[in-house]
Symmetry: C2
Subunit: 317 residues, 2 copies
């Protein structure tokens, strides 16, 4: 039935659809017009339905079924080019080192997971990581000195392709001997004025704006106090009693510190895989496609034939 359909046919179909006419398609394909005609007729015979409606002088037009086939044909032809380009690069050991940026505020486990998955897919390819602040990373993505990054959301640059990969709770970080530590949940109004350690707003303006917005929703205007550039400094400042801080619940804490969730809010930190839309790294389209389809935690080699299903858990977030 469809077993006789070859890539050749798909190329013809797409050319015809683009040219709106068999003759023009034939020229584009460096074939004679009858060659195209015959192939398409033969194909339509095999599959059992017409792809195009012939309108004589008005050219040809895809049928509804043809539309479906054409859409698929285009993507599958693009995939063929892409896959073999990548595979050839893998074989030659020419997959260029993937230069990956990350903000110090993302959960390091994500980087590890990514690295593992990536090296299973691209065995001979290196990854180098550069940790910095979001603004800097995004600038380097634009400048093509980084290929991709794992960053906290939101990312509002229109030039970036953003794929969410994780979502975790924000909790209050405090000294273990803080009186508040006796409570299992904290009241947002009670702790808000004490939160005085922030990520430097300039290092990720949109994330800061988001935070301000979150506080505003609770009716609390925040006064920016101390700001830091990385989680270690947060912990140091909290320990030295400069104030409380909001941190990712996955953050591994120094001794003497603890965290508590906040009652009444559901503040989460979303983390995303980010790459410039016009980035050149050959593996990127492939990585993005799979991240989109299967998420970060499952981007890995699997037993044959198995299809991973999205995990329901994520929906509970």
């Amino acid at each position: 039935m469809s077993d006789s359909v070859e890539f050749r046919h798909l190329e013809y179909l797409v050319a015809i659809d683009e040219g709106k006419n068999f003759t023009r398609a034939a020229e584009k394909l460096y074939r004679s017009q009858p060659a195209i005609s015959q192939q398409v007729r033969g194909l339509e015979g095999d599959i059992g339905f017409p792809i195009f409606v012939r309108r004589g002088r008005d050219g040809v037009e895809p049928t509804p079924a043809g539309e479906l086939v054409l859409g698929w044909a285009r993507t599958v032809l693009a995939e063929r080019r892409e896959i073999f380009a990548i595979a050839r690069a893998i074989h030659r050991g020419e997959v260029p080192t993937l230069r990956m940026g990350f903000s110090s505020f993302v959960n390091p486990a994500l980087l590890t997971t990514f690295r593992q998955s990536f090296s299973e897919l691209f065995p001979k390819c290196e990854v180098v990581f550069s940790g910095s602040d979001s603004a800097q990373i995004i600038q380097r993505l634009s400048a093509q000195t980084l290929d991709c990054a794992i960053l906290p959301c939101p990312i509002d640059s229109k030039a970036m392709d953003v794929i969410p990969v994780a979502n975790s709770q924000r909790v209050v970080c405090m000294r273990a001997d803080d009186p508040l530590a006796s409570q299992t949940h904290l009241d947002v109004h009670e702790i808000a004025p004490r939160i005085r350690v922030f990520r430097d707003p300039e290092l990720h303006p949109s994330a800061h704006a988001h935070l301000v917005h979150s506080f505003a929703e609770v009716g609390i205007p925040i006064s920016l106090a101390n700001s830091v550039a990385n989680p270690a400094d947060i912990q140091w400042m909290v320990k030295e009693n400069y104030g409380l801080a909001l941190v990712d619940e996955a953050l591994s804490l120094d001794s003497g510190l603890t965290t508590r969730p906040i009652a009444g809010v559901n503040w989460t930190a979303q983390t995303a895989f980010v790459a410039s839309k016009d980035s050149q790294h050959i593996a990127l389209p492939f990585i993005q496609k799979y991240l989109r389809q299967e998420g970060l935690t499952v981007l890995r080699k699997r037993p044959r034939g198995e299809r991973i299903r999205p995990r329901q858990l994520e929906l509970l977030a």
Copy 2:
């Protein structure tokens, strides 16, 4: 380069990989062993790298580059079967009516969007909708008397494929003349005891559990009061002063009612496209694939060649 790669080659590669040996693959394909050998050699010559390492008596094994190609080959061969089966069904007007369930609590705009998108992709195919409660819908999905559904999350049945399609804020529904309506944001502790109109817990136990959990997080044990089976009844009860209710912000309100957001919480209602994993409807795999890749709002015919990017907005939720 890769232009000479045909589906025939991919079939051979997959058969070889499955049989671990050219000879067995040849038998399975009803070809002679040299035919396979030659095709693979020719292919490897064209693309410029080997797909298999020949280990003599120990059979063959894919190279790293080969692994990548094989993975793609399998999916693309499956797609070919699927696409032509669907396209043929479209042509014959044989795409069976899609029986779609929905909970009365989902935003009706989602159903409209879905229906529009669907009828653009499958022009001759009907959709029939059955509105009911989640528990009932899920049961009917299992019983194969429905093909798919749009339901509020969470869905915990392991037998269901769940694809999130929308996420919206939960707000408090009240009479327009309620004293609280003078506030732009409500305090969760203040309104919690007054929320006395709920969706019937039995109609969607996991969603109810989720709600209870949300309240517990704010330190409020909820006492189940009045329960209803649809949003119209919610509005009626609120109007008749039975209590306040949590509703979707997209809900269109009767006159005399209004809604207000709650400060300090970020309660959202996620809605998902749900189908039984062993559902038979021919169009489902196709629909799911596209929902996963492009989401519900963009599942529609687009100008040629354009690729839709996921919208950054969603990340801000």
